[in-house]
Amino acid sequence: MSEFFHQYFDFTIMGDHFSEILEGFLRNLLLFAVAVVLALLFGLFLALLRQLPGKKFMPLRGLTIAYIDVFRAIPLLIILFLISGGVPYLNFLPKDIRIPHWFGQPDPFWYAVVALTMVYGAYMAEVYRAGIEAVPGGQVEAARSLGMSHGQTMRHIVVPQAVTKIPAPMLNEMISLLKDTTLASVIAYSESLLLGREVLAETFNSSAVMLSGLMFLVVVLPLARLVDYLIKRNQGKITRGSHIEVA
């Protein structure tokens, strides 16, 4: 047992490497911050494409559904490998796009941003869809009969209401995304897990990896509590029979 504690909770090692693991963790947060904004936008875009009405848009709807299915089915880790290994070979693209070093960030960062956005965009599209479909059909009918176009109905009536119904499931996706930023270690992005494993290779002690886990804990736990609170609040409204107010 003491060996276990020594292996995972060696406070000297944690202390010695605290600043570098923290630096790595900040890189996780940076990756999260960029990817989550893009994924939220991309997910909404996919969800709206999926809702396009009529025969004319059938192929586009089909393609969107196919995209969402494919990227929800393939493991993120594999997507990450395929993008970081494949994109540099696309010779018709300029080198700055194949091997991007934008804003002082190394190429693994951008490959991870793309992979996370592609996969979480698909997940989040499903969350948006659930929100959109939860808006009563009468609302759409009313808007359309007032002469609003499909686009106007979506923009002014459906999406604002849908968004209020989804904070809890969306936050769950965001928590997953934050944790999945550690996957970028396999393409040599110097985030906290990679740096923790560096220390492991050096000292044969896992405490630095544990430290990186603890940092996630500190950030994610409050978020998880927030999700619980939001779910409870939502349920309270439903049981009281009141309407969810439009934002």
Binding site: P88, I99, V186, A188
Partner: protein
């Protein structure tokens, strides 16, 4: 040349005979299977030499039981032949390998084992039989020709390896990318996301042959030396092994085995490398 070789051979034969004569006192012979009864046969066919090795670890040791092969295995077979015995290999785990040779479970260990002070407390090591070299791997036709020229560049390494240490210490201002596995670093090199890779020379050579599009710019020797281990105080066996090793190095067998497994010329330093057992 020929004369010294003959003299050396004679010395080995003498040593072999002497060792067979005192084999009864050898620590390892008690636990080997079917070891007895061969004492009378003299230098040509002494009792089998039991050797422990952690298999597989290609290209040093690999293959199935009864049919082991690899650089270590073939080298040990050649050395055993020089001392008039037949090497018999036992697959064992690396964590316990030095304890087991010390306790006499087998007489010698050849298992890509680096000679370290720590290990030397438990066992005695022969002269180094392999010097680990790092290679600087670059894209074919790259202008980078040496480790120093990677300065300020993006360099791929395998996490936790000697190559990573070397890159960290020797290359100034480089962005070092540690990949979980060697092939990941090589792939990053091929795709152009890193400009050089510092990795074990045999691994680099393997990449040059199997993957193509990359070449070795420079080879850098490191401090790591592999040795054959025997139980502490087994001075005579150690002497025999050192003599046998010298013999296979001098008659070209070593070079042949080295080139067969690593597809590289052996580094010149290996032919003069010695090691004092403590």
């Amino acid at each position: 040349m020929r004369k010294t070789r003959l003299a050396a051979l004679f010395a080995v034969l003498l040593l072999a005979l002497a060792s067979v004569a005192v084999a009864g006192c050898g620590g390892g012979s008690d636990s080997t299977s079917g070891g007895g009864g061969s004492e009378t046969s003299g230098g040509g066919g002494g009792e089998p030499l039991s050797v422990g090795s952690d298999i597989p670890y290609p290209p040093f040791e690999q293959g199935k039981p009864g049919n082991y092969t690899g650089f270590d295995i073939e080298l040990m077979e050649a050395i055993a032949e020089k001392i008039g015995r037949k090497a018999e290999f036992q697959d064992t785990s690396f964590e316990t390998i030095f304890r087991d040779v010390q306790q006499g479970k087998f007489e010698a260990v050849i298992s890509a084992a680096t000679i370290t002070d720590e290990r030397e407390k438990a066992v005695d090591f022969s002269n180094p039989y392999y010097l680990s070299e790092q290679a600087v791997l670059v894209k074919e036709g790259s202008s980078i020709k040496s480790l120093e020229e990677l300065e300020g560049k993006t360099v791929g390494v395998q996490q936790g390896t000697t190559g990573q240490e070397l890159a960290k210490e020797e290359i100034g201002g480089a962005e070092i990318r540690p990949y979980p596995e060697g092939p990941d670093a090589v792939n990053a090199l091929k795709s152009g996301t890193v400009e050089g890779v510092v990795i074990d020379a045999p691994v680099a050579q393997n990449a040059v042959e199997k993957s193509g599009g990359v070449e070795i710019a420079e080879k850098v020797p490191t401090e790591e030396e592999y040795g054959i281990a025997v139980g502490q105080g087994e001075t005579e066996l150690l002497e025999e092994i050192n003599q046998g090793l010298k013999e296979v190095q001098e008659d070209g067998t070593y070079k042949k085995i080295y080139e067969k497994w690593f597809h590289l010329e052996p580094p010149k330093a290996i032919f003069s490398a010695t090691h004092e057992a403590e």
